[in-house]
């Protein structure tokens, strides 16, 4: 099938939590680190070099993604773009793992267990109790919602299931009517999109890594199925970006 549409997906740049190798997730509105801001700008430069332009952008209600998008708009000189923010593009809720160190968990429970928590499809962490000091959820962005929709922990499957209505109801129609779409989201919301678009199996998704700040391009056919996909930037950047995600889950890793 021939390419009819082009979709660009960018995972936000490094956050303060990534810097310290902590589980961040839905409930933590961590800011971008200085490196994360540079990664966002670099992602935009790569998009600009490709000559890609946008008509609309979608992002989450978490500032690390919103600010990554702002920095991309700054480089592409398109601050005027309509931007739609939805909780459905938020990072997965890491439940009781929120705020804990990925490498300390790897030391305590083993690297394989942490990989299972981080990357598998069905495994859900324990929920985080609201009385826990690590529960720092800002309720304001969700005040208008049915509160039972707000998760206290999620598997990747849960993330896919709450993300896909937004794809079907908002993003896909925009693409179909010819709008050039940019999505700036999070590790597991991006992995959810990748799994869905590429039809990756529940077992194989454990090996999917989406690096921060490297634009992922999907060329889509008339039916919105991918014709091809690729990352912008060099092979070295891509390998380093993926390794950065993997290393955080190793024992004795102390952060960046």
């Amino acid at each position: 099938m021939a390419t009819k549409y082009k979709l660009v997906i960018v995972r936000h740049g490094e956050s303060e939590f990534t810097l310290k190798s902590l589980f961040c997730g839905f409930g933590n509105d961590a800011d971008l680190s200085e490196t994360g801001a540079k990664e966002a700008t670099h992602a935009a430069e790569l998009i600009k070099q490709e000559g890609i332009e946008f008509d609309v952008a979608y992002t989450s209600v978490l500032k690390r993604a919103i600010k990554t998008l702002y920095l991309i708009q700054e480089v592409l000189d398109c601050h005027w773009l309509p931007v739609f923010k939805s909780w459905r593009l938020n990072e997965r809720h890491h439940g009781a793992l929120q705020g804990l160190s990925k490498s300390e968990m790897a030391e305590k429970y083993g690297e394989d267990k942490v990989k299972l928590w981080r990357r598998s499809y069905h495994v859900r962490p324990d929920p985080l109790d609201k009385t826990n000091e690590r529960y720092c959820f800002n309720a304001k962005p969700y005040a208008h919602m049915d509160q039972s929709m707000i998760p206290d922990c999620e598997s990747l499957k849960d993330t896919v299931e709450r993300l896909l209505p937004y794809w079907y109801d908002e993003i896909a129609p925009a693409i179909k009517c010819g709008k050039r779409v940019l999505i700036v989201a999070h590790g597991n919301s991006c992995r959810s999109l990748v799994k869905f678009l590429e039809n990756i199996s529940d077992d194989d998704v454990i090996n999917v890594e989406v690096p921060q700040g490297i634009p992922l391009i999907y060329e889509l056919g008339e039916d919105l199925r991918p014709v091809k996909h690729y990352y912008l930037g060099s092979e070295e950047e891509l390998a380093a970006g993926k390794a950065k995600q993997i290393n955080q889950g190793k024992p004795n890793f102390k952060g960046y």
Binding site: E53, I66, H79, K140
Partner: protein, 245 residues
């Protein structure tokens, strides 16, 4: 003190064209570094007053969009929906856009410049399609109902009232707390014409860069009073409804 509703408005922070005293209009002039600090300061003021917002409106011009971004950063409310609309753009200055205010004054004279600034139906000289500042091909204006050659105050007022009645009033009536980040000429005319019975005690309301103000409205959505926040430590009430209105 007025009851009913209140809405916070702020003019964008200093742009490069503001600094260089150049007619800006629909030119997409960026913030200066002083402007960035002004915008952050506006956010700090709103934070100190304890303001919270549910949504924001701004233009499609980056000096307003970026001012709003820095305000949101101070208030930690990047999540709020932001509607960007050309209805909130600054008045289109036609052929004057990009030109020095001093040179325009020398060329056209004080009387003509005064008419452009104050006469409701006076049009600036029209911008040509061949002009470097022509916006007609800009994607953000696709579907514009007129060619962007320049606007009278009346034309700017018509779209500002359209914005007010179609976007702001429904938000206020739904109990939402909006923040509006716009442009000088636009805001002055909106305020002046929302209620012609209001007396400012001045010929024209000043809207300094990045100085937030609260417009209090009565239950009929008519302006009751207006306060600039934190000017020299005191809120300044700039108008009150006259008794016989």
């Amino acid at each position: 003190m007025a009851t009913g509703y209140s809405v916070v408005l702020v003019r964008h922070a200093q742009s490069e064209f503001n600094r260089d005293k150049i007619y800006t209009g629909w030119c997409d002039s960026d913030l200066t570094s002083d402007g960035v600090e002004e915008a952050k300061n506006a956010g700090k003021i709103l934070c100190e007053y304890g303001f919270e917002f549910d949504l924001a409106f701004t233009s499609v011009l980056k000096r307003a969009i970026k001012t709003l971004y820095f305000i949101q950063d101070e208030l930690d409310c990047h999540w709020i929906p932001v509607t960007k609309t050309w209805l909130l753009n600054e008045r289109h200055s036609g052929k004057l856009q990009g030109r020095s205010k001093v040179e325009v004054l020398e060329q056209y004279g004080q009387e003509q410049v005064h008419r452009w600034n104050h006469a409701l139906h006076e049009q600036p000289p029209p911008l040509a399609e061949t002009d470097e500042h022509w916006n007609g091909n800009d994607k953000r204006y696709a579907g514009l109902p007129f060619a962007p050659v320049g606007e009278s105050l009346q034309q700017t007022l018509q779209r500002s009232l359209q914005f007010w009645h179609n976007l702001v009033v429904p938000a206020l009536k739904a109990g939402q707390k909006p923040l509006i980040c716009g442009h000088g000429c636009y805001l002055r005319n909106l305020l002046k014409h929302l209620d012609s019975n209001c007396s400012t005690g001045k010929k024209q309301l000043e809207t300094p860069n990045a100085a937030p103000f609260v417009l209090h409205l009565d239950s009929d959505m008519r302006p009751a009073n207006l306060q600039f926040l934190n000017r020299h430590g005191n809120d300044i009430v700039l108008f009150k409804r006259s008794r016989d209105s």
